[in-house]
Symmetry: C2
Subunit: 346 residues, 2 copies
């Protein structure tokens, strides 16, 4: 019989609340014969304050035994900036080789957007997840003095760029519009930019059906607000991907509905699924958080594990709920979760 | 008697057309007793193709004798990406120590924006111009092979960060709202991020009247489309500034109206003023380019040279023209320039 062995990391702030709803929907949508086992991990600010630890080797050994990981949110103002981000979130992405950071953007009918004219937005960003300026390379000299020099080194390898570019081409090929946009800044960051561009152009030859284009990251932010319909699949570096996916989320319904997958396509380690939003400590514990982004992340998780029909049902439930939301009074986190459970089982 | 000795670099594509209008407005607005001298320089794609040169030491020696520089646009698809950007634009910014890259964003009544609800946008971005990932540090090994590694090094110094942060605080102090936002990514780029944050917090102590906040660059792109009214002055690094100012331009009237100054506040070298837009080769030579961004750059130039009243008149002319534009049939580049000349002299 089939089973899913899931590591669950509620994390900080609203993390626990949204993960609870995500798990409710997951349990509800899975066929009877699929056994869902979950193990909860207490990472984040609490653990850091209690033990000084963020993510140990033993933690990684334990996490890697699971089929996948569902994460709520990590981060709290009581922890110095960077400690949990570098010490937990990025450490995990790098340790488990999550090189495909998948972030779909779809504006559903009736969903609020800051853009005028309700454009038809439906694209997915494939963000590189294990290289670029995120490697933690760099340092400081004469730290804290008026002569301090701080460097950050963006590291880009042909190996790392090619595998994510290939993943993006395969995704573009599988979509009706078959269009792939490379976003970089190759006119200024010429070393990394030319590597990305050359590999992109080389792989493009194997995908004659895929229409390709190149856009500088600064110009991409313009198109995301003036012409988001032009995008189908975007492939980009780790930092540019971080920036444009927040903007993409903002124009396509907000970070309350933005899902992401930190995917290891080779499956050498479990992939991790998480909402794009953070821990939002200002609204934590009040039942105000929107669990939709987590539920959509559960759909990505289901698809990654081969439960395509179930993923489709979750996506459809969210789409229906969002579209009808305009007529509903504000609901609590649990009420939205319950509504989605109702839809996936109904 | 007073005089302005101006270096004019029309450049490529629409550069010549927009600069012509900028100069018309500049001549028209200057008081009779101010002698305007201009010298045109032929930089850009033509010169590069003819001579292989982008910007020589002799060019720099000649340029530095002027009071200021007005630039149209540099860049052409016939030149490999990066050659003119690194070899001309960035070389000039670095050589003349243009460390304050000033980019105002003001949405005027009636001007089209992709955002719903016509928000009140009026902020200025102070982008660092001589450091960060723009230094050209980095390189490649095993170039062109499957084992290539390409690095880009962001270089940040206490000296460089402090001077631009000070400039931004002074600007915030001089504005009615007195608010300054630091935009960075200090939770991931911790070396550079902490340098920026520490210096920002240190200088803040000298400006008790200035309200300060810190926002990650990814979140900043969200606020720029959902709540742009929150911004008054933003200070940020070279690359983040590049990205968010294109987005800022898009939401506040488009890059057709976005001006910038590459300023050397110490006046050890002439400052340079240019529209944020590029050379737009697709519409070059057709009289379709909007010269407004160049004219607004002329206003920044005037203010930099101490002609505040004249700068105000140019700004007011543009504001009036933009606001009334909605009732006008499309005009040519020259017609818009003529209308602005009429307004500054009328
Ligand atoms: C919290 C931070 C480390 C993270 C990132 O920069 O990748 C977040 O912004 C994201 O996009 O997942
Ligand atoms: C053309 C390019 C070098 C430049 C930059 O990246 O600074 C441009 O995008 C700008 O914003 O002025």
């Amino acid at each position: 019989s089939r089973s899913i062995d899931l590591a669950v990391i509620p994390g900080d702030g609203i993390g626990q609340e949204v993960v609870t709803e995500g798990l409710k929907v997951l349990s509800a949508v899975l066929p009877q014969d699929v056994k869902l086992e979950t193990k909860e991990y207490d990472f984040g600010a609490r653990r850091y304050h209690a033990t000084g630890e963020t993510l140990t080797d033993a933690d990684l050994d334990s996490l890697k035994t699971h089929d996948a990981i569902l994460l709520g949110a990590i981060g709290d103002p009581s922890v110095p900036s960077g400690v949990l981000e570098r010490g937990f979130l990025l450490k995990l992405r790098f340790a488990f080789d999550h090189h495909v950071n998948l972030r779909p953007s779809k504006l559903l009918p009736g969903v609020a957007t800051p853009l005028a004219g309700q454009p038809e937005i439906d694209f997915v960003v494939v963000r590189e997840g294990t290289e670029g300026p995120y490697t933690g390379n760099g340092g400081t000299i004469r730290t804290g003095t008026e002569h301090e020099v701080a460097t950050e080194v963006s590291v880009n390898t042909a190996y790392g760029v090619e595998r994510v570019v290939r993943d993006a081409f395969a995704r573009a090929q599988a979509r009706p519009r078959k269009k792939l946009t490379l976003v970089h800044k190759n006119n200024v960051l010429t070393f990394a930019g030319h590597l990305w561009t050359n590999i992109f152009n080389k792989v493009a030859e194997e995908y004659p059906e895929v229409t390709t284009e190149y856009i500088h990251v600064d110009a991409a932010t313009i198109y995301l607000v003036t012409d988001p319909e032009r995008f189908d699949v975007i492939v980009t570096d780790n930092l540019f991907g971080d920036i444009i996916t927040d903007l993409a989320a903002a124009v396509s319904g907000g970070i309350g509905v933005a899902a992401s997958g930190n995917i290891n396509p080779a499956r050498t380690y479990p992939s991790m699924f998480e909402p794009v939003h953070g821990s939002a400590p200002d609204i934590a514990g009040q039942g105000k958080a929107d669990p939709t982004a987590t539920v959509l992340s559960v759909a990505l998780l289901l698809r990654h594990l081969g439960y395509d029909a179930e993923a489709d049902r979750v996506d459809a439930a969210v789409a229906a709920d969002l579209t009808e939301r305009v007529d509903l009074p504000p609901r609590t986190t649990a009420e939205i979760g319950d509504a989605l459970v109702g839809r996936v089982t109904g």
